[in-house]
């Protein structure tokens, strides 16, 4: 309820107890009551509650501890998964790089073969032209063919070069990307290692906290249970004295006792009693000492009546 102090024990006690007059109690046959004042009750309960609250402060509850542990575990799992993915990507990238290098070598070989072929053709044509006897028209045609072949060879060479350049540029990009990934992976590896170490420390700390927390909680719980139990007993006793208790224990009345003790019982106790044990040591010294001490106090009788604390 808003505005109401949840630890208002005074109010709680006022609400939970009943008042009764001494005359009422006397009329119910209650001659003596043990009195536990409200302030003491309040103090006992406040102490118990404060112990619980102060004991709980600074340590984690079960659910908080479990939450931290679960979150930490989740983060570690994520980092481990990420590391696995990165590792696979790294391996795939390394394979890509090798494939590209092989392809480049093939292209270069093809280019060389094509170039060699065109050069051979040109050489053959030039040789044929140089032998003479050829008609000029045919020679012109041959020269055109040689020029076309040279152009084709040049084109093929340029294409090869361009293709190589593309591969090289692509490889450079991939390499740069891979280097970035490797740096990132290394960083992640460090993070994972650091996280694992932190997780270990955290787990250890949590265990320590848990055991300390459990021990404190256990102690508090025992103290609290004992206090509450004592208070309940005392409140029950106060209630019983004021309004009467349901838990009435039967005790024989004076009249019943008198009748019971009058009964004649058949027994052989008188005839089978054994001889008494005899203590040789006289009590005289002790008795006179006791009498002297009691006389010094002005109390002749060691009544021994219970001295109430």
């Amino acid at each position: 309820m808003a505005g109401e102090n949840p630890l208002d024990l005074k109010k709680f006690l006022e609400r939970s107890t009943a008042k009764t007059s001494l005359t009422d109690l006397q009329s119910k046959g209650v001659q003596n009551v043990r009195v536990l004042d409200q302030r003491t009750l309040e103090r006992l309960m406040q102490d118990a509650v404060q112990k619980v609250l102060s004991g709980r402060a600074g340590v984690l509850s079960d659910s908080e501890r479990e939450k931290i542990y679960q979150e930490s575990r989740k983060e570690l799992d994520r980092l481990v998964r990420e590391y696995g993915t990165m590792k696979k990507q790294n391996e795939a990238a390394a394979m890509d790089k090798n494939t590209l290098l092989t392809e480049l070598e093939n292209v270069q070989k093809q280019l060389q073969v094509t170039r060699n072929m065109y050069e051979e053709k040109i050489r053959q044509l030039e040789a044929r032209a140089g032998k003479g006897g050829a008609d000029p028209a045919h020679l012109a045609q041959m020269q055109q063919q040689v020029q076309a072949l040279q152009a084709q060879a040049q084109h093929a060479f340029q294409q090869g070069v361009q293709s190589q350049e593309r591969y090289i540029s692509e490889l450079k990009e991939r390499n740069e990307s891979l280097e970035g990934e490797i740096v990132s992976l290394r960083q992640n590896q460090h993070a994972v290692a650091a996280s694992a170490a932190t997780e270990g420390l955290l787990a250890k700390k949590l265990e320590e906290l848990a055991s300390r927390d459990d021990a404190i909680a256990d102690r508090i719980s025992k103290v609290f249970a004992k206090t509450v139990e004592g208070l309940n007993r005392k409140i029950a006793s106060i209630k019983a004295g004021s309004v009467g208790s349901d838990d009435v224990e039967y005790r024989a009345s004076e009249q019943v006792l008198d009748n019971l003790l009058k009964e004649e019982i058949e027994s052989n106790l008188g005839t089978v009693s054994s001889q008494p044990k005899v203590s040789q040591k006289s009590m005289d010294d002790r008795l006179s000492k006791l009498k002297n001490i009691q006389a010094s106090f002005g109390k002749p009788k060691p009544e021994g009546e219970e001295k109430k604390e």
Partner: protein, 332 residues
Amino acid sequence: MGRLGKGLDVGTVNLVAAEEGDDGQIALRNQRNAFIEIPVEDESTKSRLTQLKVPYVVFGKKMYVIGDTAFDLANVLNKNLRRPMKDGLLSPREVDAIPIMKLIIESILGQPREQGELCYYCVPAEPIDSELNVAYHRDVFNSVLVKIGYKPNSIVEGQALVLAELAEDDFTGIGISCGGGMHNISVSYKSLPCLTFSTSRAGDWVDSNVARVLGVKPPKAQLIKEKKVKNIQKPSTREEEAVGIYYRELIKYTFANIAEKFRNAENMPEFPDPIAVVMGGGTSLIPGFIDLVREEVKKIEFPIPIREIRHAEDPFYAVCKGCLMGAMTAQA
């Protein structure tokens, strides 16, 4: 005739009576405070029991064997004993047992030597760990003793032990009566009880725990405790070990409570010198008990210096002798 006044130790397990005889010696009689029902048979059964010196009573339509024989029978027949008292006090559930107890008391105390002879009987101090009330217990025993012809007066059990055993210390020190149902503690200064209280863990607590761990009935556990333990400090069998463990716990519990009471009690006298602690009662009779107490007390921080812990000169009868001393001092 010896000096007037009699003492009666009303214990959960034993009833003990003391009086001074003609020769100045102290006569002590005891009977186990227990009985067991047996089938009522013919007159010959009663004769046989009498010949065997087995005490019995016939009450209503039932026949009971009383005392030590009842204890032995319970063990032989593996039955539980009927005990009129529980936790040091008369059990309100055992109302029927009151006439039987009266008979037992009469048999050990005898008739008063003159009308209104004083009889001091012990009562437990207020327990600190239970809600039991001493008033009913005291009222019943007052009635019983009045019925027999005595003028009864109660004395706190722990203080009776102090009177019997601490004369050399000017009746200053701590008396601990280790009974079956309770441990009764009295802190005395020059015969005045400054602090008295009782705890409800005692011999019966040991018996019930030993019975539980060994899987036997409490009378059997009691028999083991009373007859089979050679040295409680050095157990050599499983049974001895079980008894030893619970005895150790019992001692710890009692002394921790005494220490706590000392710390919290108001108006406690300042003892100028270290004091003596004297222990008695049936539960203290087990061999090695006092050494075990000394060992355990060393482990706790006791709030006042203790000069010595010793066994009563006559541990079983000490409380009864204290009651007798009370009666004889008052009678004179």
